[in-house]
Symmetry: C2
Subunit: 372 residues, 2 copies
């Protein structure tokens, strides 16, 4: 039995009473009512997640970058060769990527997890922690398979591979929490991975491919039309009924059909965050596809999700609307790696900190405003 099925069965929803208690505390703090805007609602969500007011400030945080490759790349859905996935993993490990710089700025660890990279990762001197046991360093080697199958002609993953990838994410989450991490941030690296993400969003939410398909890291109109057609053919091949309700579909089977390894692992990370009752900050469309999968597997996950950054991918907006999420940032990032979500981490810390560290009007001897 996969680890994730047990975890999913034990999950509990966030604590609405703690959110209400946080809302009440917001009114006592030395500021006009509502003056901290979205930080106030976020703080109350963090209280609901932690089941206590004030919620802890997640000083220790980790962005987990799951890397995997995609058989669909042979269909020409990306301008980048598959080798870039492995090359970028190597770049993450020497600290040369955008996510390294941004994580450093906000004070988060970067943990890179090979869950399905297809080509050798350049530079072998990096100590890799295995999929289980021992402290997690910068790199976890947990390769389930060297890339997915081409979803146009075959299932991306087997059912067993899918469960193993979910378990990788769950296991990494729980180990990081055991090491003191109080907030997880999703990251991803996988050339071509906006295609399975859009396919998953289309399948899980019953939307046409053209509505949820975007430009990824930048493609032309012709390439976009090809990408839409690739997703349509994949959905047809897998006989996924786009009209079906999410609860009637078999979400695990849908992920196996469409992929990919890093998306399944992100779903596992979300399950892990919900298990540990800590927030998980979502990056762009790949993270949202993973979160949709997690919520399909275990609806209790939903309250633990924080949307970090507005993705420019249309599938992201569709998924966020379904999940009831509104992103904290909108800076036009379309890079992935966890960059957008990582930039939102200070907002999460500030929202929690306000509830625990601000003085009340009574404490501070500050007069309250009268109603006019």
């Amino acid at each position: 039995m996969a680890q994730w099925t047990e975890a999913a069965a034990r999950l509990r929803a966030v604590d609405g009473a703690a959110a209400l208690a946080a809302d009440e505390r917001q009114m006592l703090l030395t500021k006009p009512a509502g003056a901290l805007g979205r930080l106030e609602a976020l703080g109350s969500q963090l209280a609901a997640i932690a089941r206590i007011v004030p919620p802890p400030v997640p000083h220790e945080a980790a962005v987990v970058v799951f890397a995997g490759d995609h058989g669909v790349l042979v269909e020409g859905v990306s301008p980048w060769p598959a080798e870039v996935t492995a090359q970028m993993v190597a770049n993450f490990l020497v600290g040369g990527a955008a996510i390294n710089v941004i994580a450093n700025v906000v004070g988060a660890r970067v943990v890179v997890v090979d869950v399905g990279v297809a080509t050798p990762i350049p530079g072998t001197g990096v100590p890799a922690a295995g999929a289980s046991g021992g402290p997690i360093g910068r790199f976890v080697s947990a390769n389930v398979r060297a890339g997915t199958g081409n979803l146009v002609i075959e299932p991306a993953m087997t059912a067993d591979e899918t469960s193993r990838a979910i378990d990788v994410g769950l296991s990494v989450a729980l180990r990081l929490v055991a090491e003191g991490v109080g907030c997880l941030v999703t990251g991803d690296m996988g050339i071509g991975n906006t295609t399975p993400s859009a396919a998953l969003i289309a399948a899980l939410l019953g939307r046409p491919a053209e509505e949820v398909t975007g430009r990824g890291t930048g493609i032309s109109d012709v390439a976009w039309a090809k990408k839409v057609s690739v997703i349509e053919r994949a959905l047809e091949r897998a006989r996924l009924d786009l009209g079906a309700e999410l609860s009637e579909a078999e979400p695990h089977a849908v992920v196996a059909e469409l992929g990919g390894f890093e998306i399944a692992a992100i779903a596992g990370l979300v399950l892990g965050a919900a298990t540990a009752e800590i927030p998980v900050v979502l990056d762009g469309v790949i993270a949202l596809a993973g979160a949709l999968v997690a919520v399909a597997l275990a609806p209790e996950c939903k309250g633990y999700l924080v949307a970090g950054h507005r993705s420019t991918e249309p599938g992201a907006s569709v998924a966020m609307a379904y999940l009831g999420l509104e992103p904290l940032l909108d800076l036009g990032l379309r890079l992935g790696e966890g960059t957008g979500a990582c930039l939102a981490l200070p907002l999460v810390r500030a929202a929690a900190g306000v509830l625990g560290e601000m003085a009340t009007f009574d404490d501070a001897g500050v007069a309250s405003g009268s109603v006019t």
Copy 2:
């Protein structure tokens, strides 16, 4: 001769060539072109400010909270009593306010400057640095006068007081830069200060009062109408010609007529940032009024401005449009103190860090994407 007039005469505009060089470097870094969205333009602005690529990462930053009171409060423009200004200053000094929590989260110093508080600041055990000399601690006592005059019936400040307040901001900026601060963040505390801010924006940009007047920390329709009328009467009394071009008005005289001390000091802080050639992150409408004043006094200031957070005050939008600014964050904050701007500080550091710390495609041995 006021210190600020000499500083203003010596300012130089930001370096457009450095911005172009930064734009070119963005294309070499290990990410798809443009994938870091607004961080890329911000990074290029920081290069223009520092006149070098990469620009330094402002690890040391300070939010400077200028505090002052407003004679116009007797007109009933705010639900809060004037004493709250002094009480909140005391709250800042013991670390109990929102700005303390947020500055702590993002790693910025909080420096509180009394430039015109009207009532005694509770708790006298706080060591105060004078307006000049010695290292700056948490508090600078540089009170020009115990609150402004009521702008409806008299000039808010004299010409000399106005220059002294601007000089306070300039001097604090230069001393902080001398102590190693690489980015300044504007903060303010002054019950009633959205009224002079709106009046200044109306006067400097020739807009009707009702277009730039907002709800401050929260007032009713009736109170809002009264606030608009207060501003209209002040503009009439001061015979400020709303149709006049900004360059034809005498900006220093306009500030003296309308106030306030903290707004003039913010203008001085902006002049100081431009003098030291470092970025200054603006908070809400009070900061924008101060920035408008600084740009009116010395147009070269403009390129050093970064808008941190979208204020809900309509005057802020008018001022930002004039200054060509687009805020980095939009979280519904309407507190002041520098809270919104402070939350944007990690974005400034990330934008600078990306240019200096990311690997290029060549460095990292990563293949570039082909055009499709």
